[in-house]
């Protein structure tokens, strides 16, 4: 990777292609955040490989002035795994959506997370199939009415965080498209995390699913309906940080400080680096009468697959000087005809 001395600007990561997402689509904001995050991290554009599957969000590589590969539906994770395993020196990104990642590509996604390969996975979750014009997705809520579910769906959705942690994921963050500052911060952290990082971005589809995250992300609700978690800080939310999260028995509870006997001391401090993912899972699953957790919910270091693959090669090579096929064959069961 490029040395940190060379400074890059967000525009250095921008390609010359006209961005074709619908006006008002949440994807525009995420793209801008990614440009900013990369300038912040400072990886040279030519040391970046941005891989995607199929869907609206998967067009993103065309808008990056980096090496990019817009592949086939659901297979981005597998292709990105190949890129990173072959070339651990590259900063490899996987851009995917809820359909691409969790329906057709579910198998590749869970295995990429399980292997802890050092990919930066950005999962654009708009809870709808946009490019095929409006069918329910694996993250649509039960009862969701769409073109392919005119009477409402009869199935429960995946919660991306639950699937990620269930696949033994070490990094999970949740962001919202309208919060550029925090999304940039999260993508920067995801880039710096060693191992598979999953950032779910709640994005709005203005055409087929407008307002799906409205009750969470709109300014009027956001302070009370979301909580932004930061490692080492108290889990506070509300317009004046007057509310917080406490643990009661085996359950999390949202409380107001000063009410019912709760004080600031009772409020949990977020530890994103805790290896045990129990609390991370509980935080990630909050909703309904609890605020939706945003920010970096889990960020734990672990051995990465790509490093381990190359380390094993080095270990074998340290013990065995054979480097050429000819030498290998001469060491086998051979005989000479004179």
């Amino acid at each position: 990777m490029a040395t940190e001395e060379i400074k890059f600007q967000p525009k250095d990561y921008k390609s010359d292609q006209y961005v074709r997402w619908c006006p008002g689509c949440g994807d525009h904001a995420v793209l801008n955040c990614l440009h900013k995050a990369m300038a912040e991290v400072g990886v040279a554009p030519h040391d970046m490989a941005v891989i995607s599957g199929i869907g609206c969000s998967s067009r993103l590589p065309y808008y990056m002035n980096t090496y990019g590969f817009h592949t086939i539906h659901g297979r981005g994770a597998a292709i990105a795994t190949g890129v990173k395993t072959a070339r651990p020196d590259l900063s490899v990104w996987l851009i995917t959506g809820d359909g691409d990642c969790l329906a057709i590509g579910g198998n590749h996604f869970i295995h990429a997370v399980r292997r802890n390969i050092d990919l930066n996975i950005v999962l654009f979750n708009n809870k709808i199939y946009g490019l095929t014009k409006g069918q329910y997705s694996p993250t649509s809520d039960r009862g969701f009415v769409s073109k392919s579910s005119p009477y409402g769906t009869v199935e429960d959705p995946f919660i991306p965080a639950e699937l990620t942690l269930g696949s033994r994921g070490n990094f999970f963050a949740r962001a919202i498209d309208v919060d550029l500052k925090n999304t940039t911060e999260i993508l920067t952290a995801s880039a710096r995390h060693k191992g598979a990082s999953v950032t779910e971005v709640l994005v709005n589809c203005v055409i087929f699913n407008d307002g799906i995250h409205k009750k969470i992300v709109d300014k009027e609700f956001r302070a009370d309906k979301t909580i932004f978690l930061r490692h080492g800080e108290k889990m506070l939310f509300g317009k004046n940080n007057e509310k917080g999260i406490v643990l009661e028995g085996l359950k999390l509870k949202a409380v107001t400080i000063g009410e019912d006997g709760y004080t600031l001391d009772d409020i949990l401090v977020h530890d994103a680096h805790e290896k045990d993912n129990t609390l991370h899972m509980m935080l990630a699953m909050m909703g309904e009468d609890m605020p939706v957790a945003l920010g970096i919910i889990r960020d734990v270091e672990g051995v990465t697959y790509d490093e381990a693959v190359h380390q094993q090669i080095e270990e074998v090579q340290a013990k065995n000087p054979t480097r050429k096929l000819k030498d290998l064959l001469m060491q086998g069961e051979i005989w000479e005809v004179k």
Binding site: P61, I72, A78, G82, V83, T85, R87, D89, L329
Partner: protein, 618 residues
């Protein structure tokens, strides 16, 4: 007494070792074929094992076999029928009855031919030979189990461990039959059990006991002598097709100066390629055992994009799963080697059996016009050359290449003269550094004017960032395009790029009689059988020739010329006529005779000769 032994000198002989899948027949066969090769014989081998890992002991479904064909002249097949059968139990005898010559020698372990053993193999009488109608075979009935146990008492092994050595007793007996000195076999056993010297000694003792037993009973059977022949000087090893394929890829990567990457998912009969390459970390090979067939190829496509010589190995059902991803490699114009070790189909079919039924799938099994290179290996050792060529063409022409082998050559082995890589053609990837057009700025789909090959810009290279993808791209700007004229141009260009590869591959060679009355045409793993059929017919005074294809798409440039030269042509293949139909589409007016068998078993030379003779006389 030794002077009374009747020694028969033969040019070729077929030996089949057969027993329970736990009896060690594969090892016995391998050692015997290796020491015969060292002795100077030509060899060809074929393991025939059940799909079940461990079927119940002594039953018909648990029989595992290993056939060796030895000769003093060129041997290409494991042979039709056996001259010698080693049957470790009644099930092995029953299963192999159809593989026996009428006057064959059958070696049996009488200790495992008891009533209960006969019952397990579903014999209804106490004379299995009579029941099977084997009146003319010579039986060498030896109480192998008890002699092995007695011979090994000094080693203090438990009953089970001692009995594991009975395959070596059988091997010793066969070595006596074929006048093979035991030194090499002992050496191999010492290597095999280097970490367990006691086991090595026990096996060697059993081997020697078997040999001596043969010597003591020699008067009752004839022994065989196969003259050794002078092979081309050099170093040799015994190699099967899957191993040779792995080595061919390694050689291509070495020659091209690229790291080799294999993304694969376990599937019979291709998994040994994954096994072999996973061992080769010493040579810097990266392997990924993926979560499924699709990820197998997709990790390889990613590695290719990242600058490796990338390959994926599979069999027919896996190739079907990979087809969408192959299309991606076609449109992205990335190098990739896809190895399909063909097996019996359709669907799961017959995983351990051999066919040539994936040809159409390899050529056309994708959506859209998606041409690519198809190569077929003809023998176990030719897998090396074919894999080398697959690697070469893929990186030099920026295209996926499907390499077709089959279960028969993948598991079959023969002696292989170690290759001199200096004599193999260079492999020169078309890197973006070769781009020298001063008029136009470089774009991802700019092409070499002559070969139409695009330039390979590897991530990390400054100044060449670009985006590839499965969407159609503009010929000039490399941006996404749905322009109708552009699409026509890109479709034609991708086809022309593949067609032009005919300029870079060897012409089709014809072997046999120049003025042949019949040209046999084949492709892939049937080479040995077709060659032997031709040879047999020539010995009968007929004028026959053989044209065997390694390059299927594109075809060698002289294909139409060769096929047009002969009055009669027969295309012989293990499918319902896929290659014949393909050739008819490529060579106008071509209307061959056909010989098609889809039994999951190799061709039988005698049948080929019979059918070809009928065609000649028609």
């Amino acid at each position: 007494m030794a002077e009374q032994t009747k020694v028969t000198t033969l040019e070729k002989v077929v030996i089949r070792f057969s027993g329970d899948s736990g009896d060690g027949m594969q090892l016995t066969g391998t050692i015997f074929s290796n020491l015969s090769a060292i002795f100077g014989n030509e060899i060809s081998t074929f393991p025939d094992y059940p799909a079940e890992v461990r079927a119940p002991q002594g039953t018909l479904s648990g029989v595992s076999g290993f056939q060796v064909h030895l000769g003093s002249r060129k041997i290409f097949t494991p042979g039709d029928k056996a001259d010698v059968l080693v049957a470790m139990n009644p099930a092995a005898l029953k299963v192999n009855v159809k593989h026996l010559k009428p006057n064959a020698i059958v070696v049996i372990d009488t200790d495992s031919f008891q009533k209960s053993d006969l019952d397990k193999a579903l014999f209804t009488t106490d004379d299995p030979f009579k029941e099977l109608g084997l009146g003319s075979v010579q039986v060498v009935a030896a109480p192998i189990s008890s002699m092995v146990k007695d011979g090994l008492t000094e080693f203090g092994l438990d009953n089970k461990s001692a009995l594991r050595c009975k395959n070596m007793f059988a091997l010793g007996l066969v070595c006596w039959l074929f006048e093979r000195p035991l030194e090499e076999a002992m050496h191999m056993l010492q290597n095999k059990f280097a970490k367990k010297p006691a086991i090595a000694q026990a096996n060697i003792k059993a081997l020697t006991d078997g040999y001596n037993y043969g010597n003591n009973i020699h008067a009752s059977v004839s022994t065989y002598r196969i003259e050794s022949k002078k092979a081309e000087p050099g170093y040799y090893t015994d190699v099967n097709g899957n191993k040779a394929t792995s080595y061919g890829l390694i050689a291509a990567a070495e020659k091209a100066g690229l790291q080799l990457f294999l993304g694969s998912y376990p599937i019979t009969p291709a998994t040994d390629i994954l096994h072999e390459l996973s061992k080769r970390k010493d040579l810097g090979v990266i392997t990924v055992q993926a979560e499924d067939e699709i990820a197998g190829i997709c990790t390889s496509i990613g590695a290719s994009f990242a600058g490796c010589l990338a390959a994926t190995s599979t069999s027919g059902p896996g190739l079907a799963l990979k087809s969408e991803a192959i299309g991606l490699a076609v449109i992205a114009e990335l190098p990739l080697v896809i190895i399909d070790v063909q097996r019996g189909g359709p669907s799961t079919g017959m995983p351990t059996k051999s066919e040539q039924t994936d040809l159409m799938q390899a050529l056309y099994g994708r959506n859209g016009e998606s041409p690519l290179v198809v190569i077929a290996a003809s023998t176990p050792t030719d897998c090396f050359d074919a894999a080398y060529w697959a690697g070469k063409l893929s990186v030099e022409h920026m295209t996926p290449v499907i390499l077709l082998t089959d279960a028969f050559i993948a598991n079959g082995s023969s002696a292989w003269k170690l290759p001199d890589l200096d004599k193999y053609p260079e492999i020169v990837p078309n890197y973006v550094s070769n781009y020298q057009d001063t008029e136009k700025v470089w774009k991802a789909y700019r092409r070499d004017k002559e070969s139409l090959v695009r330039y390979w810009a590897i991530p990390g290279t400054e100044g060449f960032t670009h985006r590839l993808g499965g969407l159609e791209k503009d010929y000039e700007t490399s941006a996404i395009s749905t322009d109708p004229v552009n699409h026509q141009k890109m479709v034609s260009t991708r086809q022309a790029k593949i067609d032009k590869i005919a300029d870079y591959i060897p012409e089709l060679e014809v072997i046999g009689d120049k003025d042949a009355d019949l040209l046999i045409v084949g492709w892939g793993g049937t080479y040995g059988h077709l060659y032997e059929a031709m040879e047999t017919m020539q010995e009968q005074g007929k004028k026959v020739a053989l044209a065997h294809f390694k390059f299927i798409n594109p075809l060698p440039k002289n294909t139409a010329e060769v096929l047009g030269k002969y009055k009669k042509v027969v295309v012989a293949e293990q499918n319902n006529g896929q290659f014949a139909n393909y050739l008819r589409g490529k060579v106008s007016g071509f209307n061959p005779y056909r010989f098609n068998r889809v039994k999951g078993q190799p061709f039988v030379v005698a049948r080929l000769v019979e059918e070809f003779t009928k065609i000649m006389e028609a």
